[in-house]
Symmetry: C2
Subunit: 370 residues, 2 copies
């Protein structure tokens, strides 16, 4: 029985890596960013628009899909990719992060997480075993263990407990995972801002032998410098021959720094969420398209961008769309922001292959943080 | 000085016509439907999506653009087509219809229509001359005279007054029209449900010598059979060598009947508005994608449709999108409904060229009204 995925390293530049990740539904060039399609839909973008923007893979959320329309229906439609008309690889999270972000509507103990769902209050009980079962029905190429993700301000004792529980759950997920040739299960490392707990978690998770590993418990309230310290410390502790995924990050500069520490995969709602709030990413920082200063501006969002929005319309037109609350405004900005993220990853890959990632990182950061 | 447009009749089938309408920004095959881009944006659809759906031309609304962002700004961006990134012909209405649909916020007399606009209550004074001036700044290939459009339940006296005023305004618009080689001005016939007043109006408007003519004052509250009677009566009274435009209609069956009376051009918000309310047009009638009966349906919206939505996703997935209120639902249905309208026009044209329009009409109506 062969594994569902394989990971072939092609170049390194310092600790930054360029690789090819093969999945049952296609090959992925690393590093890559995954647009978030929470309910099997990236907000405002069809699969054709995603493909044109350079998306290689789409992420969907287990908790949300289990609530609506239910994993059994998604399975009946042939899995999440087929359901949404996406002809390519997919990844699902486990619901562990929703146990953090929806803390008010759940109870957690060693058995699992009991949600009263956000839609109609019905119970959803996620255990390590049910999280695997649900995700096997969703049928993504890669899926995640159930983990416990404590907030950034948690005590050392609380974080140590979460590390222990995450390891116990990781083993239960690993044992419940029954279709290894079709779907690859990823482990998740916790440990908060404590370097020794991160090391302990990385060792325990790494030993289980997942085909991929993730850094979880980041972007949960800590400041970016703290997050960078933890990623720099943790990424090199994850198995070198397997893909490394930094969950829920995020800002372009944070992703670029994480790549320099050896991270390969990212996801975040930021590009599409920002787009709906008129925030566009550009090579010289973010701009707000609601601002009146763009009213007469005939230039594109970003002269360095090749996306459909930048090829088609001006800042002045986009400002008009947000001013009159037309849905095309969020659509155009979603196209642009997603393309911006993918383009950044493509540039990062090229810089790694040219073995000049550190110089590239400095150049990009000076633009993004100017 | 040559006219901005030319109209070449290519085939007739009964009174139905297939022609080519040449404009400064491209050729149009008749009969055709114009998607409504009220504020220089068709809701939810980029120009590329419109083009793929078969759109030949886009309509925009003078009243709305005059309120926001203002015709001077649109002019500074090179006109409405360039502003919205649409590389093709455009048409603007005059604001006359908004004097009907926004009757509560306007006052009308022979001088013109005084609006307190819907956005901030500022005054917008549309006169025949200012309606022309604004539309010349908007720069569409075709534009409309200011007319008075009374509701369907108006008295004969009221309708006769509107006919007289529309003719007086038509002459003032014609005189104010200064760029005849760049933009073509269309006359509008009023007369409500009174056949003699329609004939009087058609004669008066026809005599002025506009390069195109429209039937206005329909779809304002009358029932479909009444409208059809008036269109059947009025269309043949409009100059045969010029394009005929039925304003604001509408339902697929109403358009198909109007074509049989000699109408060439249509516009309506229905396909995109219905899409936002989960209503899809199909060859066997409309369906509501919110209905639970579609939950497990893996078939496309319409097996006879070649649109991107029908090629990509199922009724079950679309029902899910509306169920969870994802904006992709309205986007997919807008693509489909617009394609449905254009496909209907393409089929009508083929039937006219094959000189079998009556048979085609009967077949289509039996499906649409089944």
């Amino acid at each position: 029985m062969t594994d569902a995925i394989s990971f072939q390293l092609e170049a390194v530049s310092g600790k930054a890596r360029a690789a090819t990740l093969r999945t049952p539904h296609g090959e992925l060039r690393t590093p890559f960013f995954m647009p978030v399609g929470t309910v099997a839909a990236v907000k405002g973008l069809t699969p054709a628009m995603l493909r044109e923007a350079g998306s290689q893979i789409v992420l969907a959320n287990t908790y949300h899909l289990a609530v609506r329309p239910g994993e059994k229906l998604v399975d009946a439609f042939g899995g999440v990719a087929k359901f949404m008309g996406w002809h390519g690889p997919t990844l699902t999270d486990s619901g562990g992060f929703q146990a953090f972000s929806l803390a008010k509507i759940r109870k957690m103990d060693d058995a699992g997480v009991r949600f009263q769902n956000h839609f109609d209050g019905a119970e959803l009980f996620l255990t390590p075993e049910s999280a695997v079962e649900i995700q096997q029905l969703l049928g993504a190429d890669m899926f995640m263990i159930l983990d416990e993700c404590p907030p950034a301000n948690s005590s050392r004792e609380k974080v140590a407990e979460a590390v222990g529980r995450t390891t116990r759950w990781a083993k239960r997920c690993f044992d419940a995972w029954s279709n290894r040739e079709k779907q690859a299960l990823f482990g998740i490392v916790q440990g908060g801002l404590f370097e020794d707990l991160r090391a302990e978690s990385a060792e325990q998770i790494g030993e289980i032998g997942f085909p991929g590993n993730a850094i979880g418990g980041v972007s949960v309230g800590e400041d970016p410098a703290e997050m960078d310290r933890i990623v720099a410390h943790t990424a090199p502790l994850l198995p070198e021959t397997k893909p490394r995924y930094l969950m829920g990050v995020g800002r372009p500069q944070d992703m670029l720094r994480a790549i320099s520490h050896g991270v390969d995969m990212f996801d975040c709602v930021m590009p599409t969420r920002h787009a709906r709030h008129a925030q566009a990413f550009t090579s010289s920082g973010t701009i707000n398209l609601k601002n009146n200063c763009h009213r007469e501006d005939e230039s594109p969002l970003d002269p360095q961008c090749d996306c459909y929005a930048c090829r088609t319309v001006s800042r002045g037109y986009l400002r008009h769309l947000f001013n009159v609350k037309e849905m095309l405004g969020p659509i155009y900005l979603s196209i642009h922001n997603i393309r911006f993220y993918h383009h950044l990853m493509e540039q990062a890959r090229a810089a790694i292959i040219a073995n000049r990632y550190d110089a590239f990182l400095r150049e990009k950061l000076s633009g993004l943080e100017s």
